[in-house]
Symmetry: C2
Subunit: 289 residues, 2 copies
Amino acid sequence: MDLYPSRVSDKPSIMERKDPVVHRNNSMRGPLDEEQLSFYEKNGYLFFERFFSGEEVQVLRDELRRIWETNKHSDAKEIIREPESREIRSVFAVHRDYELFRQLSRNQRLLDIVQQILGSEVYIHQSRINYKQGFSGKEFYWHSDFETWHVEDGMPAMRALSCSISLEDNYHFNGPLMVIPGSHQYFISCVGETPEDHYEQSLRRQQYGVPDHDSLTWLVEKHGISTSTGPAGSVTLFDCNLMHGSNGNITPLPRSNVFFVYNSVENRLVQPFSGQKPRPEHIATRNFG
Amino acid sequence: MDLYPSRVSDKPSIMERKDPVVHRNNSMRGPLDEEQLSFYEKNGYLFFERFFSGEEVQVLRDELRRIWETNKHSDAKEIIREPESREIRSVFAVHRDYELFRQLSRNQRLLDIVQQILGSEVYIHQSRINYKQGFSGKEFYWHSDFETWHVEDGMPAMRALSCSISLEDNYHFNGPLMVIPGSHQYFISCVGETPEDHYEQSLRRQQYGVPDHDSLTWLVEKHGISTSTGPAGSVTLFDCNLMHGSNGNITPLPRSNVFFVYNSVENRLVQPFSGQKPRPEHIATRNFG
Protein backbone atom coordinates (compact mmCIF):
# COMPACT_ATOMS: atom_id res chain seq x y z
CA MET A 1 0.00 0.00 0.00
CA ASP A 2 1.26 3.48 -0.86
CA LEU A 3 1.05 5.62 2.27
CA TYR A 4 2.47 8.64 0.46
CA PRO A 5 1.17 8.91 -3.09
CA SER A 6 2.91 11.56 -5.21
CA ARG A 7 3.19 12.43 -8.91
CA VAL A 8 -0.16 10.76 -9.55
CA SER A 9 -2.45 13.78 -9.62
CA ASP A 10 -2.51 17.09 -11.47
CA LYS A 11 -3.21 18.91 -8.20
CA PRO A 12 -0.73 19.16 -5.33
CA SER A 13 -1.90 18.20 -1.85
CA ILE A 14 -0.60 18.25 1.68
CA MET A 15 -1.07 15.30 4.01
CA GLU A 16 0.11 14.56 7.51
CA ARG A 17 3.08 12.35 8.20
CA LYS A 18 2.14 8.80 9.21
CA ASP A 19 5.46 7.68 10.73
CA PRO A 20 7.24 8.62 13.95
CA VAL A 21 10.18 11.02 13.61
CA VAL A 22 12.20 9.61 16.50
CA HIS A 23 11.81 5.82 16.66
CA ARG A 24 12.31 5.34 20.39
CA ASN A 25 13.67 1.89 21.13
CA ASN A 26 15.07 0.97 24.52
CA SER A 27 17.60 -1.42 23.04
CA MET A 28 18.99 1.44 20.93
CA ARG A 29 20.08 3.90 23.57
CA GLY A 30 22.53 6.54 22.43
CA PRO A 31 24.33 9.76 23.19
CA LEU A 32 21.47 12.22 22.50
CA ASP A 33 19.66 13.60 25.54
CA GLU A 34 15.92 14.19 25.74
CA GLU A 35 16.27 17.85 24.78
CA GLN A 36 18.11 16.96 21.57
CA LEU A 37 15.63 14.23 20.70
CA SER A 38 12.71 16.61 21.26
CA PHE A 39 14.36 19.26 19.12
CA TYR A 40 14.83 16.75 16.33
CA GLU A 41 11.29 15.52 16.68
CA LYS A 42 9.84 19.02 16.49
CA ASN A 43 12.18 20.62 13.94
CA GLY A 44 13.37 17.66 11.90
CA TYR A 45 17.08 18.39 12.20
CA LEU A 46 20.03 18.66 14.57
CA PHE A 47 23.21 20.65 14.09
CA PHE A 48 26.55 19.63 15.65
CA GLU A 49 29.17 22.34 15.43
CA ARG A 50 32.72 21.03 14.83
CA PHE A 51 31.66 17.38 15.09
CA PHE A 52 34.91 16.59 13.29
CA SER A 53 38.19 18.34 14.04
CA GLY A 54 40.13 20.60 11.70
CA GLU A 55 42.68 17.83 11.13
CA GLU A 56 40.00 15.28 10.25
CA VAL A 57 38.43 17.75 7.81
CA GLN A 58 41.77 18.42 6.15
CA VAL A 59 42.24 14.71 5.44
CA LEU A 60 38.76 14.52 3.90
CA ARG A 61 39.33 17.64 1.85
CA ASP A 62 42.61 16.25 0.49
CA GLU A 63 40.81 13.06 -0.50
CA LEU A 64 38.03 15.07 -2.14
CA ARG A 65 40.59 16.99 -4.18
CA ARG A 66 42.20 13.70 -5.24
CA ILE A 67 38.83 12.26 -6.29
CA TRP A 68 38.01 15.40 -8.27
CA GLU A 69 41.37 15.30 -10.03
CA THR A 70 41.08 11.58 -10.82
CA ASN A 71 37.59 11.94 -12.25
CA LYS A 72 38.13 15.11 -14.21
CA HIS A 73 37.58 13.38 -17.54
CA SER A 74 35.81 10.28 -16.27
CA ASP A 75 32.49 9.28 -17.74
CA ALA A 76 31.69 6.98 -14.81
CA LYS A 77 28.01 7.01 -13.92
CA GLU A 78 28.86 8.06 -10.36
CA ILE A 79 30.06 11.44 -11.61
CA ILE A 80 27.38 14.13 -11.99
CA ARG A 81 28.29 17.39 -13.72
CA GLU A 82 26.83 20.92 -13.66
CA PRO A 83 23.93 21.47 -16.08
CA GLU A 84 25.78 24.18 -18.00
CA SER A 85 29.39 23.06 -17.82
CA ARG A 86 31.69 20.06 -17.39
CA GLU A 87 32.36 20.93 -13.75
CA ILE A 88 31.77 18.05 -11.35
CA ARG A 89 28.80 18.70 -9.08
CA SER A 90 28.56 15.38 -7.21
CA VAL A 91 30.29 12.03 -6.91
CA PHE A 92 28.01 9.19 -5.81
CA ALA A 93 28.62 5.99 -3.86
CA VAL A 94 31.73 7.29 -2.12
CA HIS A 95 31.05 5.03 0.88
CA ARG A 96 31.45 2.08 -1.50
CA ASP A 97 34.31 3.22 -3.73
CA TYR A 98 36.67 5.07 -1.40
CA GLU A 99 38.10 3.56 1.76
CA LEU A 100 38.29 6.85 3.64
CA PHE A 101 34.61 7.56 3.08
CA ARG A 102 33.69 3.95 3.88
CA GLN A 103 35.30 4.43 7.26
CA LEU A 104 33.65 7.80 7.70
CA SER A 105 30.22 6.34 6.99
CA ARG A 106 30.85 3.86 9.82
CA ASN A 107 32.13 6.42 12.30
CA GLN A 108 30.91 5.09 15.64
CA ARG A 109 29.99 8.46 17.19
CA LEU A 110 27.82 9.17 14.17
CA LEU A 111 26.27 5.71 14.00
CA ASP A 112 25.30 5.78 17.66
CA ILE A 113 23.30 8.96 17.09
CA VAL A 114 21.71 7.77 13.85
CA GLN A 115 20.66 4.42 15.31
CA GLN A 116 19.24 6.14 18.39
CA ILE A 117 17.00 8.31 16.19
CA LEU A 118 15.96 5.55 13.80
CA GLY A 119 15.62 2.95 16.58
CA SER A 120 17.31 0.12 14.70
CA GLU A 121 20.38 -0.95 12.81
CA VAL A 122 20.94 1.13 9.70
CA TYR A 123 22.63 0.92 6.30
CA ILE A 124 23.71 3.50 3.73
CA HIS A 125 20.92 4.12 1.24
CA GLN A 126 22.92 6.70 -0.71
CA SER A 127 26.18 8.58 -0.36
CA ARG A 128 27.84 11.36 -2.25
CA ILE A 129 30.18 14.31 -2.13
CA ASN A 130 28.71 17.59 -3.36
CA TYR A 131 30.81 20.43 -4.61
CA LYS A 132 29.29 23.86 -5.16
CA GLN A 133 31.84 26.11 -6.79
CA GLY A 134 32.29 29.77 -5.99
CA PHE A 135 31.19 32.63 -8.31
CA SER A 136 28.59 30.55 -10.14
CA GLY A 137 27.40 27.79 -7.83
CA LYS A 138 23.84 26.88 -8.75
CA GLU A 139 20.89 26.64 -6.40
CA PHE A 140 19.27 23.37 -5.28
CA TYR A 141 15.52 23.95 -5.35
CA TRP A 142 13.31 22.95 -2.42
CA HIS A 143 12.56 19.25 -2.09
CA SER A 144 11.82 16.45 0.32
CA ASP A 145 14.34 13.67 -0.29
CA PHE A 146 11.80 11.13 0.86
CA GLU A 147 9.40 12.10 -1.94
CA THR A 148 11.99 11.00 -4.49
CA TRP A 149 13.22 7.97 -2.55
CA HIS A 150 9.65 6.81 -2.12
CA VAL A 151 8.46 7.35 -5.69
CA GLU A 152 11.64 6.47 -7.56
CA ASP A 153 13.38 4.03 -5.18
CA GLY A 154 10.53 2.37 -3.29
CA MET A 155 11.44 3.47 0.22
CA PRO A 156 8.25 2.54 2.06
CA ALA A 157 8.23 4.71 5.20
CA MET A 158 9.86 7.79 6.68
CA ARG A 159 12.53 6.03 8.70
CA ALA A 160 15.72 7.41 7.17
CA LEU A 161 17.85 10.47 7.71
CA SER A 162 20.55 12.44 5.97
CA CYS A 163 23.88 13.38 7.43
CA SER A 164 25.68 16.31 5.86
CA ILE A 165 29.30 16.86 6.86
CA SER A 166 30.60 20.27 5.76
CA LEU A 167 34.13 20.36 4.41
CA GLU A 168 34.22 24.14 4.16
CA ASP A 169 33.09 26.93 6.43
CA ASN A 170 29.44 27.65 5.72
CA TYR A 171 28.34 31.25 5.85
CA HIS A 172 24.95 32.82 5.31
CA PHE A 173 26.14 34.09 1.97
CA ASN A 174 27.72 31.10 0.23
CA GLY A 175 24.59 29.11 -0.44
CA PRO A 176 24.29 27.07 2.79
CA LEU A 177 21.66 24.40 3.41
CA MET A 178 18.27 25.96 4.19
CA VAL A 179 15.58 23.94 5.92
CA ILE A 180 11.95 24.60 6.81
CA PRO A 181 11.86 23.42 10.45
CA GLY A 182 8.78 21.29 11.14
CA SER A 183 8.05 20.66 7.45
CA HIS A 184 8.91 16.96 7.95
CA GLN A 185 5.48 16.59 9.61
CA TYR A 186 3.76 17.04 6.23
CA PHE A 187 4.03 15.17 3.00
CA ILE A 188 3.71 17.44 -0.04
CA SER A 189 2.33 15.36 -2.87
CA CYS A 190 3.81 16.69 -6.11
CA VAL A 191 2.13 16.94 -9.50
CA GLY A 192 3.09 15.24 -12.76
CA GLU A 193 4.36 11.80 -13.70
CA THR A 194 7.97 10.68 -13.73
CA PRO A 195 9.48 9.82 -17.11
CA GLU A 196 11.59 6.63 -17.36
CA ASP A 197 15.30 7.10 -16.60
CA HIS A 198 14.45 10.54 -15.36
CA TYR A 199 17.20 10.37 -12.72
CA GLU A 200 20.00 10.98 -15.19
CA GLN A 201 18.67 14.50 -15.67
CA SER A 202 17.21 15.07 -12.22
CA LEU A 203 20.55 14.73 -10.45
CA ARG A 204 21.71 17.69 -12.51
CA ARG A 205 18.51 19.72 -12.42
CA GLN A 206 15.25 18.76 -10.74
CA GLN A 207 12.07 18.82 -12.84
CA TYR A 208 9.83 16.22 -11.21
CA GLY A 209 9.01 15.81 -7.55
CA VAL A 210 9.09 19.60 -7.28
CA PRO A 211 6.79 21.00 -4.59
CA ASP A 212 4.35 23.72 -5.68
CA HIS A 213 4.59 27.40 -4.73
CA ASP A 214 1.45 27.44 -2.59
CA SER A 215 2.55 24.53 -0.41
CA LEU A 216 6.02 26.02 0.05
CA THR A 217 4.55 29.41 0.95
CA TRP A 218 2.23 27.73 3.45
CA LEU A 219 5.13 25.84 5.05
CA VAL A 220 7.36 28.91 5.28
CA GLU A 221 4.58 31.10 6.70
CA LYS A 222 3.94 28.44 9.32
CA HIS A 223 7.50 27.49 10.18
CA GLY A 224 10.02 29.96 8.75
CA ILE A 225 13.44 29.05 7.37
CA SER A 226 16.64 28.02 9.18
CA THR A 227 20.10 28.04 7.67
CA SER A 228 22.89 25.67 8.61
CA THR A 229 26.00 27.80 9.03
CA GLY A 230 29.17 27.03 10.91
CA PRO A 231 32.80 26.00 10.58
CA ALA A 232 34.05 23.10 8.48
CA GLY A 233 33.60 19.76 10.24
CA SER A 234 30.10 20.62 11.44
CA VAL A 235 27.39 18.04 10.90
CA THR A 236 23.71 18.51 10.12
CA LEU A 237 21.41 15.51 10.59
CA PHE A 238 17.98 15.87 9.05
CA ASP A 239 14.88 13.81 8.60
CA CYS A 240 14.31 12.27 5.15
CA ASN A 241 11.11 14.27 4.72
CA LEU A 242 12.41 17.69 5.80
CA MET A 243 11.87 20.31 3.09
CA HIS A 244 15.25 21.78 2.20
CA GLY A 245 17.18 23.53 -0.53
CA SER A 246 19.96 26.05 -1.06
CA ASN A 247 20.49 29.29 -2.93
CA GLY A 248 23.16 29.85 -5.54
CA ASN A 249 26.57 31.20 -4.60
CA ILE A 250 28.28 34.16 -6.30
CA THR A 251 30.89 34.53 -3.55
CA PRO A 252 34.45 33.30 -4.12
CA LEU A 253 33.92 30.80 -1.29
CA PRO A 254 33.08 27.33 -2.60
CA ARG A 255 31.11 24.80 -0.60
CA SER A 256 31.57 21.06 -0.42
CA ASN A 257 30.08 18.45 1.81
CA VAL A 258 29.87 14.72 2.32
CA PHE A 259 26.36 13.39 2.32
CA PHE A 260 25.34 10.03 3.80
CA VAL A 261 21.78 8.76 3.87
CA TYR A 262 21.10 6.19 6.58
CA ASN A 263 18.03 4.03 6.25
CA SER A 264 16.62 1.67 8.89
CA VAL A 265 17.13 -2.03 8.09
CA GLU A 266 13.42 -2.32 8.87
CA ASN A 267 12.63 0.06 6.02
CA ARG A 268 14.28 -1.78 3.11
CA LEU A 269 13.41 -0.71 -0.41
CA VAL A 270 10.52 -2.33 -2.25
CA GLN A 271 9.47 -1.73 -5.85
CA PRO A 272 9.36 2.00 -6.74
CA PHE A 273 5.89 3.44 -6.10
CA SER A 274 5.99 5.02 -9.55
CA GLY A 275 5.69 1.47 -10.92
CA GLN A 276 8.84 2.09 -12.92
CA LYS A 277 12.14 0.29 -12.79
CA PRO A 278 14.38 1.06 -9.80
CA ARG A 279 17.24 3.54 -10.07
CA PRO A 280 20.69 1.99 -10.19
CA GLU A 281 22.61 0.73 -7.18
CA HIS A 282 25.02 3.69 -6.96
CA ILE A 283 22.04 6.00 -6.31
CA ALA A 284 19.88 3.72 -4.17
CA THR A 285 21.39 0.72 -2.41
CA ARG A 286 19.33 -2.47 -2.69
CA ASN A 287 22.03 -5.02 -1.90
CA PHE A 288 23.75 -4.70 1.41
CA GLY A 289 25.04 -6.62 4.40
CA MET B 1 42.02 62.60 -18.39
CA ASP B 2 40.75 59.14 -17.46
CA LEU B 3 41.66 58.52 -13.82
CA TYR B 4 40.04 55.08 -13.86
CA PRO B 5 40.63 53.28 -17.16
CA SER B 6 38.61 50.07 -17.57
CA ARG B 7 37.66 47.73 -20.43
CA VAL B 8 40.74 48.83 -22.36
CA SER B 9 43.11 45.95 -21.58
CA ASP B 10 42.93 42.18 -21.83
CA LYS B 11 44.33 41.89 -18.31
CA PRO B 12 42.48 42.98 -15.17
CA SER B 13 44.27 45.26 -12.73
CA ILE B 14 43.70 46.76 -9.32
CA MET B 15 44.49 50.40 -8.59
CA GLU B 16 43.98 52.59 -5.58
CA ARG B 17 41.12 55.04 -5.34
CA LYS B 18 42.10 58.63 -6.14
CA ASP B 19 39.08 60.43 -4.60
CA PRO B 20 38.01 61.03 -1.03
CA VAL B 21 35.17 58.85 0.28
CA VAL B 22 33.69 61.44 2.62
CA HIS B 23 33.94 64.91 1.10
CA ARG B 24 34.15 66.96 4.29
CA ASN B 25 32.83 70.45 3.76
CA ASN B 26 32.06 72.79 6.63
CA SER B 27 29.20 74.43 4.79
CA MET B 28 27.55 71.01 4.42
CA ARG B 29 27.09 69.96 7.99
CA GLY B 30 24.60 67.18 8.57
CA PRO B 31 23.11 64.67 10.98
CA LEU B 32 25.89 62.04 10.87
CA ASP B 33 28.32 62.00 13.76
CA GLU B 34 32.06 61.40 13.49
CA GLU B 35 31.68 57.69 14.25
CA GLN B 36 29.21 57.20 11.39
CA LEU B 37 31.36 59.20 8.98
CA SER B 38 34.44 57.14 9.91
CA PHE B 39 32.50 53.91 9.48
CA TYR B 40 31.39 55.03 6.02
CA GLU B 41 34.88 56.14 5.12
CA LYS B 42 36.40 52.80 6.15
CA ASN B 43 33.68 50.39 5.02
CA GLY B 44 31.99 52.26 2.20
CA TYR B 45 28.44 51.90 3.50
CA LEU B 46 26.03 52.80 6.29
CA PHE B 47 22.90 50.93 7.33
CA PHE B 48 19.91 52.66 8.93
CA GLU B 49 17.41 50.23 10.40
CA ARG B 50 13.75 51.32 10.02
CA PHE B 51 14.69 54.68 8.49
CA PHE B 52 11.11 54.78 7.19
CA SER B 53 8.11 53.67 9.24
CA GLY B 54 5.86 50.73 8.51
CA GLU B 55 3.12 53.12 7.31
CA GLU B 56 5.47 54.93 4.93
CA VAL B 57 6.64 51.59 3.52
CA GLN B 58 3.08 50.42 2.99
CA VAL B 59 2.31 53.49 0.88
CA LEU B 60 5.41 52.86 -1.24
CA ARG B 61 4.57 49.19 -1.62
CA ASP B 62 1.04 50.01 -2.77
CA GLU B 63 2.45 52.40 -5.35
CA LEU B 64 4.96 49.76 -6.49
CA ARG B 65 2.12 47.28 -6.99
CA ARG B 66 0.20 49.87 -9.01
CA ILE B 67 3.24 50.59 -11.21
CA TRP B 68 3.79 46.87 -11.78
CA GLU B 69 0.15 46.38 -12.73
CA THR B 70 0.11 49.38 -15.06
CA ASN B 71 3.27 48.29 -16.85
CA LYS B 72 2.48 44.61 -17.15
CA HIS B 73 2.31 44.75 -20.93
CA SER B 74 4.14 48.01 -21.46
CA ASP B 75 7.07 48.15 -23.84
CA ALA B 76 8.33 51.42 -22.38
CA LYS B 77 12.11 51.61 -22.30
CA GLU B 78 12.03 52.21 -18.55
CA ILE B 79 10.75 48.67 -17.97
CA ILE B 80 13.41 45.96 -17.69
CA ARG B 81 12.31 42.31 -17.66
CA GLU B 82 13.92 39.09 -16.39
CA PRO B 83 16.31 37.43 -18.87
CA GLU B 84 14.26 34.24 -19.04
CA SER B 85 10.69 35.50 -18.67
CA ARG B 86 8.39 38.50 -19.12
CA GLU B 87 8.49 39.27 -15.39
CA ILE B 88 9.41 42.88 -14.60
CA ARG B 89 12.78 43.12 -12.90
CA SER B 90 13.25 46.90 -12.71
CA VAL B 91 11.47 50.14 -13.52
CA PHE B 92 13.80 53.07 -14.20
CA ALA B 93 13.44 56.83 -13.72
CA VAL B 94 10.80 56.51 -11.00
CA HIS B 95 11.94 59.82 -9.45
CA ARG B 96 10.96 61.51 -12.72
CA ASP B 97 7.78 59.66 -13.65
CA TYR B 98 5.98 59.07 -10.34
CA GLU B 99 5.15 61.85 -7.90
CA LEU B 100 5.47 59.67 -4.81
CA PHE B 101 8.99 58.61 -5.72
CA ARG B 102 9.90 62.16 -6.73
CA GLN B 103 9.00 63.25 -3.21
CA LEU B 104 10.85 60.30 -1.72
CA SER B 105 14.01 61.18 -3.65
CA ARG B 106 13.85 64.66 -2.06
CA ASN B 107 13.19 63.43 1.47
CA GLN B 108 14.99 66.01 3.60
CA ARG B 109 16.34 63.57 6.23
CA LEU B 110 17.90 61.55 3.44
CA LEU B 111 19.23 64.54 1.50
CA ASP B 112 20.92 65.98 4.59
CA ILE B 113 22.90 62.79 5.05
CA VAL B 114 23.76 62.40 1.37
CA GLN B 115 24.93 66.00 1.04
CA GLN B 116 26.99 65.69 4.19
CA ILE B 117 28.86 62.70 2.75
CA LEU B 118 29.31 64.14 -0.74
CA GLY B 119 30.07 67.65 0.55
CA SER B 120 27.92 69.48 -1.98
CA GLU B 121 24.49 69.80 -3.51
CA VAL B 122 23.41 66.61 -5.27
CA TYR B 123 21.10 65.45 -8.03
CA ILE B 124 19.63 62.07 -9.00
CA HIS B 125 21.91 60.33 -11.48
CA GLN B 126 19.68 57.27 -11.73
CA SER B 127 16.63 55.85 -9.99
CA ARG B 128 14.76 52.60 -10.16
CA ILE B 129 12.61 50.09 -8.35
CA ASN B 130 13.95 46.54 -8.33
CA TYR B 131 11.77 43.53 -7.82
CA LYS B 132 13.31 40.13 -7.13
CA GLN B 133 10.59 37.51 -7.13
CA GLY B 134 10.47 34.56 -4.77
CA PHE B 135 11.22 30.94 -5.85
CA SER B 136 13.32 31.92 -8.86
CA GLY B 137 14.81 35.37 -8.22
CA LYS B 138 18.08 35.64 -10.11
CA GLU B 139 21.42 36.72 -8.72
CA PHE B 140 23.08 40.07 -9.43
CA TYR B 141 26.76 39.35 -9.98
CA TRP B 142 29.47 41.41 -8.24
CA HIS B 143 30.11 44.85 -9.66
CA SER B 144 31.18 48.38 -8.87
CA ASP B 145 28.48 50.75 -10.09
CA PHE B 146 31.09 53.43 -10.65
CA GLU B 147 32.93 51.25 -13.16
CA THR B 148 29.84 51.29 -15.39
CA TRP B 149 28.87 54.89 -14.71
CA HIS B 150 32.43 55.98 -15.52
CA VAL B 151 32.92 53.92 -18.68
CA GLU B 152 29.39 54.07 -20.09
CA ASP B 153 28.04 57.36 -18.69
CA GLY B 154 31.14 59.53 -18.27
CA MET B 155 30.96 60.05 -14.51
CA PRO B 156 34.43 61.54 -13.91
CA ALA B 157 35.16 60.91 -10.22
CA MET B 158 33.99 58.82 -7.28
CA ARG B 159 31.68 61.37 -5.73
CA ALA B 160 28.32 59.64 -5.87
CA LEU B 161 26.47 57.20 -3.68
CA SER B 162 23.57 54.79 -3.86
CA CYS B 163 20.63 54.71 -1.51
CA SER B 164 18.68 51.47 -1.31
CA ILE B 165 15.35 51.56 0.52
CA SER B 166 14.03 48.07 1.25
CA LEU B 167 10.29 47.58 0.79
CA GLU B 168 10.33 44.04 2.18
CA ASP B 169 12.00 42.43 5.15
CA ASN B 170 15.46 41.32 4.11
CA TYR B 171 16.74 38.05 5.54
CA HIS B 172 20.03 36.26 5.05
CA PHE B 173 18.25 33.76 2.87
CA ASN B 174 16.23 35.80 0.37
CA GLY B 175 19.09 37.19 -1.67
CA PRO B 176 19.92 40.38 0.26
CA LEU B 177 22.50 42.94 -0.83
CA MET B 178 26.03 41.71 -0.16
CA VAL B 179 28.94 44.15 -0.01
CA ILE B 180 32.69 43.76 0.36
CA PRO B 181 33.43 46.36 3.04
CA GLY B 182 36.50 48.44 2.16
CA SER B 183 36.45 47.42 -1.51
CA HIS B 184 35.56 51.02 -2.47
CA GLN B 185 39.21 51.90 -1.82
CA TYR B 186 40.26 49.98 -4.96
CA PHE B 187 39.28 50.31 -8.56
CA ILE B 188 39.12 46.97 -10.35
CA SER B 189 39.80 47.60 -14.00
CA CYS B 190 37.79 45.08 -16.02
CA VAL B 191 38.78 43.35 -19.24
CA GLY B 192 37.11 43.56 -22.64
CA GLU B 193 35.54 46.31 -24.70
CA THR B 194 31.95 47.50 -24.49
CA PRO B 195 29.79 46.91 -27.55
CA GLU B 196 27.52 49.78 -28.72
CA ASP B 197 24.06 49.85 -27.09
CA HIS B 198 25.29 47.22 -24.71
CA TYR B 199 23.11 48.62 -21.92
CA GLU B 200 19.89 47.14 -23.31
CA GLN B 201 21.27 43.71 -22.50
CA SER B 202 23.41 44.58 -19.50
CA LEU B 203 20.44 45.74 -17.42
CA ARG B 204 19.05 42.26 -17.76
CA ARG B 205 22.28 40.32 -17.47
CA GLN B 206 25.76 41.76 -17.01
CA GLN B 207 28.47 40.68 -19.45
CA TYR B 208 30.85 43.62 -19.54
CA GLY B 209 32.35 45.50 -16.64
CA VAL B 210 32.49 42.19 -14.78
CA PRO B 211 35.35 41.96 -12.27
CA ASP B 212 37.64 38.93 -12.56
CA HIS B 213 37.74 36.01 -10.10
CA ASP B 214 41.24 36.74 -8.81
CA SER B 215 40.47 40.34 -7.91
CA LEU B 216 37.22 39.34 -6.18
CA THR B 217 38.98 36.59 -4.25
CA TRP B 218 41.67 39.08 -3.19
CA LEU B 219 39.07 41.59 -2.02
CA VAL B 220 37.06 39.00 -0.08
CA GLU B 221 40.16 37.51 1.57
CA LYS B 222 41.20 40.98 2.63
CA HIS B 223 37.83 42.38 3.69
CA GLY B 224 35.18 39.65 3.97
CA ILE B 225 31.53 40.04 3.03
CA SER B 226 28.71 41.88 4.81
CA THR B 227 25.02 41.40 4.16
CA SER B 228 22.35 44.05 4.55
CA THR B 229 19.50 42.45 6.43
CA GLY B 230 16.72 44.07 8.39
CA PRO B 231 13.06 45.02 8.37
CA ALA B 232 11.29 46.82 5.53
CA GLY B 233 11.93 50.55 5.59
CA SER B 234 15.63 50.14 6.33
CA VAL B 235 18.08 52.13 4.23
CA THR B 236 21.55 51.20 3.00
CA LEU B 237 23.76 54.01 1.70
CA PHE B 238 26.84 52.89 -0.18
CA ASP B 239 29.69 54.42 -2.07
CA CYS B 240 29.49 54.30 -5.88
CA ASN B 241 32.66 52.18 -6.03
CA LEU B 242 31.75 49.60 -3.37
CA MET B 243 31.84 46.06 -4.76
CA HIS B 244 28.43 44.51 -4.27
CA GLY B 245 26.06 41.85 -5.57
CA SER B 246 23.35 39.48 -4.42
CA ASN B 247 22.62 35.78 -4.60
CA GLY B 248 19.49 34.30 -6.15
CA ASN B 249 16.42 33.62 -4.09
CA ILE B 250 14.54 30.28 -3.99
CA THR B 251 12.54 31.22 -0.88
CA PRO B 252 8.87 32.25 -1.21
CA LEU B 253 9.84 35.69 0.13
CA PRO B 254 10.25 38.25 -2.66
CA ARG B 255 12.46 41.30 -2.35
CA SER B 256 11.88 44.77 -3.69
CA ASN B 257 13.66 48.01 -3.12
CA VAL B 258 13.80 51.60 -4.30
CA PHE B 259 17.19 52.64 -5.53
CA PHE B 260 18.34 56.27 -5.86
CA VAL B 261 21.79 57.29 -7.03
CA TYR B 262 22.87 60.72 -5.87
CA ASN B 263 25.73 62.41 -7.67
CA SER B 264 27.52 65.59 -6.60
CA VAL B 265 26.71 68.63 -8.78
CA GLU B 266 30.49 69.06 -8.93
CA ASN B 267 30.80 65.65 -10.61
CA ARG B 268 28.53 66.17 -13.63
CA LEU B 269 28.75 63.67 -16.46
CA VAL B 270 31.15 64.23 -19.35
CA GLN B 271 31.48 62.12 -22.48
CA PRO B 272 31.59 58.37 -21.71
CA PHE B 273 35.18 57.17 -21.21
CA SER B 274 34.47 54.31 -23.58
CA GLY B 275 34.34 56.90 -26.36
CA GLN B 276 30.88 55.65 -27.24
CA LYS B 277 27.58 57.50 -27.25
CA PRO B 278 26.03 58.14 -23.84
CA ARG B 279 23.28 55.91 -22.45
CA PRO B 280 19.81 57.43 -22.54
CA GLU B 281 18.46 59.93 -20.04
CA HIS B 282 16.27 57.44 -18.13
CA ILE B 283 19.41 55.49 -17.17
CA ALA B 284 21.84 58.36 -16.65
CA THR B 285 20.58 61.90 -16.08
CA ARG B 286 22.41 64.57 -18.07
CA ASN B 287 19.81 67.34 -17.91
CA PHE B 288 18.80 68.51 -14.49
CA GLY B 289 18.01 71.56 -12.42
